[in-house]
Amino acid sequence: MCVKHVPDTAATIRIGTDDCIDENITFIMNPYDENAVEEAVRLKKQTIDADVIAVTLGKGTAEATLRSAMAMGADRAILVKSKSSHDSISTARALCAAIQRDGDPDIVFTGKESVDNEGFQTMFHLAACLDVPVVSNAVKFAMTDTTIRVTCEMEAGDLEHIEMETPCVIGAGKDLNQPSYPKLPDILKARKKPLTEIELSDLGIATPASRVEMIKIESIKEERYPEIIDGTADEIADTIVHVLREKAKVLDG
């Protein structure tokens, strides 16, 4: 499965120089990728002959996330090393190349999104590169032989039941499972599990015809102007309606 090393959303994210975020904060495994890892490991426990490989594209520090994935039960890991950040199509091509170099996977699990860029694109590009079907925001997953039954939440409460064949790409949603807390012996074992490092340049990936270019990165200004609304209950209600209609423009008519 594919995982991503992302900044902890709880941390204060600052913009550093060169339109990059200040990386002197805690990085964690993308939370949706935890669901992906958990599902892959669960599947391995059901099928005896399976190899769970964690793949990521990132800097050397992303090793921590791969070790976490291995502590959760992945057998080995591949780190595609790159110093710069990439858009989803380049990321997908890098992951695809690394995956295909390693072998032909039956299922590729990813998180439905990553909490840093929130592009929601990588898994689709990856499936296109691999030329396999893809689903996103999977909340239920079951596999018999090569048939997969998966339930995806398209919008809140709108579920779609899909049957598909391997090989395929599954984008894991939050409700797919409860990622298990790693046990200490597994954390210790993960330190010794094999991790292959590949330089991105060694994969010889073609530059995509179109791509996303980042022009500038800016932090959201947290500016709030609280007002105190006074008066009788009716007056307050009127003022609130006025505010919602005129200032916030969330009410019609």
Partner: protein, 668 residues
């Protein structure tokens, strides 16, 4: 007659050899079991002189058991009475085999004196047991188990004492033959029985038969009791004294440092009874199920599945159930402690608030928490089994070094407008104020930290905080069994502390205080650590904090477990409150000081749901309300939060203030 003496001699010989052999075999089995468990202990037999004093005070002086006065006095009577009859019983045994033995001749004056005293002390056993039976039948405290075991022990002992007195009574009536010790005047109490039952009216033959019956019943009961002891809760008779002698001499203690980097270790924490250490096993042997721990336990008092007494009992049964495998060094064959049919469940282990009321009250110094915390370690590190809601706390601690997951770099934000220097800017500060997570992030806690900072400034203290360099002290993770995470946090702090080498660390929270003071030395950071109640009292005594003599009304103080029972600090907060509120009053709750009732937050419980039984903080809030005090003073931000919630639930008007806030108000 000659024939009877020979038969008696033979039977007694056989009975004694048989009885004592059986007894020794059983004791040897227990001793071997104690030696066969594989857990390591850091215990060192040090400070022997102090231990001898403890032995005289707690075992022979019975002071510890008399902390509960009436049952303690009863126990003292039983203890001395029962002990007193033993030498004479032993002499009678030998005399049964060889009638020529007369210790009285060997130690003429002394032995007569001993018999005189023993004869007076013996009936006190009956007085003690009369009270014990009264307690079991009439008073019936819920923590006292009524069982065959206890009743049999009472019966055995009473028979031993009654027959002892009868033997003595008949003894005085036996004809004084040549070579026999003259017992005249040595049995003041038994002598009364002679007149009372008119024994001297009996024929010499009946007197002889009476003596012999009393003798045989006495011997049979003693030997029966001897065989019964090692298999019953009365093993206490043998194990309590050594357990007390080997007790921890300080109330401060640290959780065992588990080597989490040792990849060769197959297991971490306590998962099976084979992983207990010999000290734990001695603890189990020493318990006589008096129930005092259960009486104090906040979990047991609020209908949770944990009773420290039952826990110890269940551990003992589980140990005995696996004795064969443990003796055979077959650790594989030993089942996990927490398993499907085990009475020790996750709910039992996670109900503990680690308040240590059980350990403090235990008359034989059992350390219940060692069992609980080590089992929790095993549950977390090996099984990843814990109340699910604490997983988020673990993740937050891991990523942002605080239990709520606030951004770690905002740790000093509480002090933004107060001009509090960071250690990086003032590395030579006299005092490093270790604020803690609550003071740094929690809205209520921040107000307490702000009050602290104002007070320190008012007293002109040269202090600084670590700010973003500070991490959670590790208490929550450690007591919740997550030793790996705890050590990660501790290491982080230790590195920072060692870089500054602080002169004094001042803590705003008893949990930080306890861990920094008692557990950080395990990780290479030993610095003087003070809790702020001690420090502010000191500042006041030096005249650096002058109260404005404002009347703050009636206060009551809630003892924090980690200040009180874990570190023995009871006086400082009270003295400080009295001097800050000289014209007001300080009321005490019913359960106070060593018996202070927990708020429910300790042992990581602050971050777990309390779904079983009554809520502990509500129980305590009700007690606060009974004092009639207008303000509850706390010395721990977690206690403050818990009790504020409890009082709010009871719709009480009582205001909860931290002592730092009270000092701030009183010196403004």
């Amino acid at each position: 007659m000659e024939q009877y003496t020979i038969i008696k001699s033979f039977v007694m010989f056989m009975a004694l050899v048989g009885g004592f052999s059986l007894f020794f075999l059983k004791v040897r089995h227990l001793y071997r079991l104690m030696q066969s468990v594989q857990g390591q202990t850091e215990f060192k037999l040090d400070r022997v002189r102090e231990r001898v004093v403890v032995f005289f005070k707690d075992v022979l002086g019975q002071t510890n058991v008399r902390r509960k006065l009436a049952p303690g006095l009863a126990h003292t009577m039983i203890f001395f009475g029962f002990l007193a009859v033993q030498p004479h019983s032993l002499e009678l045994m030998l005399k049964g085999i060889c009638p020529a033995i007369e210790v009285g001749h060997l130690l003429p004056g002394l032995y007569g004196g001993y018999l005189f005293v023993a004869d007076i002390l013996a009936p006190f056993v009956l007085v003690g047991f009369a009270y014990a039976i009264y307690r079991r039948v009439v008073v019936r405290p819920p923590y006292l188990t009524m069982g065959m075991d206890a009743n049999l022990i009472i019966l055995f002992t009473c028979v031993i004492i009654i027959t002892f007195q009868l033997i003595n009574a008949f003894q005085t009536l036996l004809p004084l033959e040549a070579g026999v010790f003259d017992y005249t005047g040595t049995f003041p109490v038994s002598g009364l029985l002679v007149g009372l039952f008119g024994l001297d009216q009996l024929t010499p033959q009946k007197i002889f038969i009476g003596y012999e019956i009393a003798y045989w019943v006495h011997m049979a009961t003693i030997i029966g009791f001897l065989i019964y002891i090692p298999g019953s809760k009365h093993l206490h008779l043998l194990a309590a004294a050594p357990n007390v002698f080997l007790k921890p001499l300080e109330c401060e203690k640290a959780i065992v440092k588990t080597d989490i980097e040792d990849e060769d270790l197959e297991t971490f924490g306590l998962g099976k009874t084979v992983e207990l250490n010999w000290k734990n096993v001695l603890n189990l042997y020493a318990c006589t199920e008096c129930g005092r721990c259960e009486e104090q336990c906040p979990a047991a008092n609020t209908d949770k599945p944990l009773s420290p007494k039952k826990l110890i009992h269940d551990f003992k049964l589980d140990l005995f159930a696996h004795a064969d495998a443990i003796l055979a060094k077959d650790a594989e064959a030993v089942q996990p402690i927490v398993r499907e049919d085990s009475p020790i469940t996750g709910d039992v282990l996670w109900s503990c608030t680690t308040c240590r009321a059980c350990e403090d009250i235990c008359p034989v110094n059992i350390e219940h928490l060692d069992f609980i915390i080590e089992s929790r370690k095993n549950q977390v590190l090996m099984e990843a089994s814990f109340p699910p809601e604490i997983q988020e706390t673990f993740t937050n601690l891991e990523n942002q070094a605080n239990p709520w997951g606030f951004a770690a770099d905002t740790r000093a934000n509480w002090a933004k407008d107060l001009d509090v220097p960071l250690m990086t800017d003032n590395p030579e500060a006299d005092v490093l104020y270790f604020v803690g997570c609550s003071g740094s992030f929690d809205d209520r806690g921040k107000k307490i930290a702000q009050a602290m900072a104002r007070v320190l400034k008012r007293a002109d203290v040269n202090f600084a905080i670590l700010g973003p360099e500070e991490a959670c002290n590790g208490d929550v993770a450690r007591r919740a069994g997550n030793e790996y995470l705890a050590q990660m946090l501790i290491q982080q702090n230790v590195e920072v502390l060692n870089q500054y080498n602080p002169k004094t660390i001042l803590t705003g929270c008893p949990h930080c205080f306890n861990t920094l003071k008692n557990e950080y030395p395990q990780f290479g950071a030993s610095y003087p650590v003070v809790h702020y109640t001690q420090y502010l009292l000191e500042l006041h005594q030096q005249g650096r904090l002058k109260p404005n003599n404002k009347n703050l009304g009636s206060l009551t103080f809630h003892d924090s477990c980690y200040l009180g029972r874990w570190n023995g600090i009871y006086a400082a907060p009270r003295d400080l409150l009295r001097s800050m509120n000289a014209t007001g009053s300080l009321l005490e709750m019913q359960r106070t000081g060593e018996k202070g009732f927990c708020c429910g937050a300790g042992g990581g419980r602050m971050f777990m749901e309390e779904t079983l039984g009554k809520r502990i903080n509500i129980d305590r809030a009700e007690e606060v309300m009974k004092t009639g005090a207008a303000t509850l003073a706390s010395a721990c931000p977690f206690c403050a939060t818990m009790l504020m919630d409890g009082l709010m639930d009871k719709e009480s008007d009582i205001v909860v203030k931290d002592i730092a806030e009270i000092v701030d108000e009183a010196t403004a």
